[in-house]
């Protein structure tokens, strides 16, 4: 999604109305219920959320000049910096050490990288297909990418072939390097 993303892709920047900001917050909590205790810390009541509309209907939401989450269609996806601040709230899969290199250059994650001994998938029932997951790596604390499951985690375990996760956002991609001045 952010493989090619430059300043030229930004169409408009505007402040979000406080009423919309409230609905945004509830939506975020609905999607990631575990965020609830910290939501006021993430987006304080008095703060101003900014929406940055970009190419391909991507919208970035920023608080205090930091992009916290974004959406393309209906679903809100947290940015990596937000994930690092509070990693407990999201579904997590783990890849093995050999895969890190490729993930950091933006490759989709293949199933064997998720099923090998160093990797980790949640126990059954696991996550549905198309759900957004945080990708962390073996022996590392922080997340390194965010992706969307192309098959359910159970399928990944049983089929173990082909693309397992489509990468949305990873360390070092243009969104990671993006700053608002």
């Amino acid at each position: 999604m952010f493989k090619k993303f430059t300043r030229d892709d930004i169409h408009s920047r505007s402040n979000v109305k406080s009423s919309i900001q409230r609905t945004l917050k509830t939506k975020l909590v609905n999607q990631y219920p575990k965020l609830e205790p910290v939501i006021d810390e993430l987006i304080p009541k008095k703060s101003q959320v900014e929406v940055i509309k970009c190419e391909d209907k991507i919208q970035l939401y920023a608080v205090n000049g930091e992009v916290l989450f974004f959406q393309q269609f209906d679903e809100l996806i947290p940015s990596l910096r937000l994930v690092h601040k509070f990693p407990e709230a999201y579904p997590i899969v783990q890849v093995d050490r050999g895969a890190i290199k490729f993930v950091l250059s933006g490759a989709n994650i293949m199933c064997p990288g998720l099923t090998s001994p160093g990797a980790g998938l949640p126990d059954a029932p696991g996550f549905e297909k198309d759900s957004v997951v945080i990708i962390k790596a073996e022996n590392k604390d922080s997340a390194l990418a965010i992706g969307r499951l192309l098959m359910s985690t159970e399928d990944i375990k049983s089929i173990n072939k082909g693309h397992g996760v489509e990468l949305i956002h990873h360390l070092g991609d243009p969104l990671w390097n993006f700053t608002i001045e």
Binding site: P37, V38, E41, L42, R81, H84, K85, F86, P87, D96, R97, G98, I100, K101, L104, S116, P117, G118, E138, N139, K140, D141, S142, L144, L171, G172, W176, N177
Partner: protein, 201 residues
């Protein structure tokens, strides 16, 4: 429950544990040691004075990754990372050389009668944001200032008005800030050629 403070590497901007994958590991380590010593010991062990320069990546790999991907793959990964690192270092050296060999050209051109424009080119190598610079100049000298392409299809900052000396001083201070004091700044003044012709008239 509260938010976590995350330390990001000042060199590669990643969380420190991913520094080994960027190919800038050496500089990252130095940065981390200076700025967050406790995190450094946590990641790379207390004392790595004995670690060979060349073996940096392998040593870190062993410490960080008691990995499960098998020795063969681990070795391959280490090799790749080492390759990446040397590649990155070479690239950085090349860039530095390029920076040192290139120069900034400040040119004053006569427009009509007693009006001049000052054009600055050759800044793109030094990671200076031309648009921002144009804006600062515009407000600093209270003149029009913009970024445009010159004949060689390179970007240059064009300032309306006779401000050659001030611009030169400002550019010097700017380069000094970036630690690039040795960069040549060349000024070209086309006024001198023009002057005799006007006088003879």
């Amino acid at each position: 429950m509260s938010l976590r403070e995350v330390v990001y590497c000042g060199v590669c901007s990643y969380p420190p544990e991913y520094c080994e994958f960027t190919g800038k590991l050496k500089r990252c380590k130095v940065w981390l040691k200076e700025n967050h010593p406790e995190r450094y010991t946590q990641l790379y062990g207390a004392d790595d004075a004995d670690a060979d320069e060349d073996n940096d990546v392998t040593a870190v790999g062993k410490k960080l990754g008691e990995s499960s991907i098998g020795e063969e793959r681990e070795n391959k990964l280490e090799k790749d990372l080492l390759k990446l690192q040397t590649k990155q270092e070479n690239r950085e050296q090349r860039e530095l050389a390029k920076k040192l060999s290139s120069k900034v050209i400040i040119k004053r051109e006569a427009r009509t009668k007693r009006k001049f424009i000052v054009a600055i080119s050759g800044l793109e190598v030094f990671e200076i944001d031309m648009k921002k610079l144009a804006k600062t100049f515009a407000s600093k000298f209270a003149t029009g200032c913009s970024v445009s392409k010159n004949i060689e299809k390179k970007e240059e900052v064009v300032i309306q008005g006779d401000v050659l000396e001030d611009v030169e001083a400002y550019i010097h201070s700017l380069l000094k800030e970036k630690g690039m004091e040795n960069v040549k700044v060349e000024t070209i003044d086309t006024k001198k050629k023009k002057k005799p012709t006007t006088e003879t008239k």
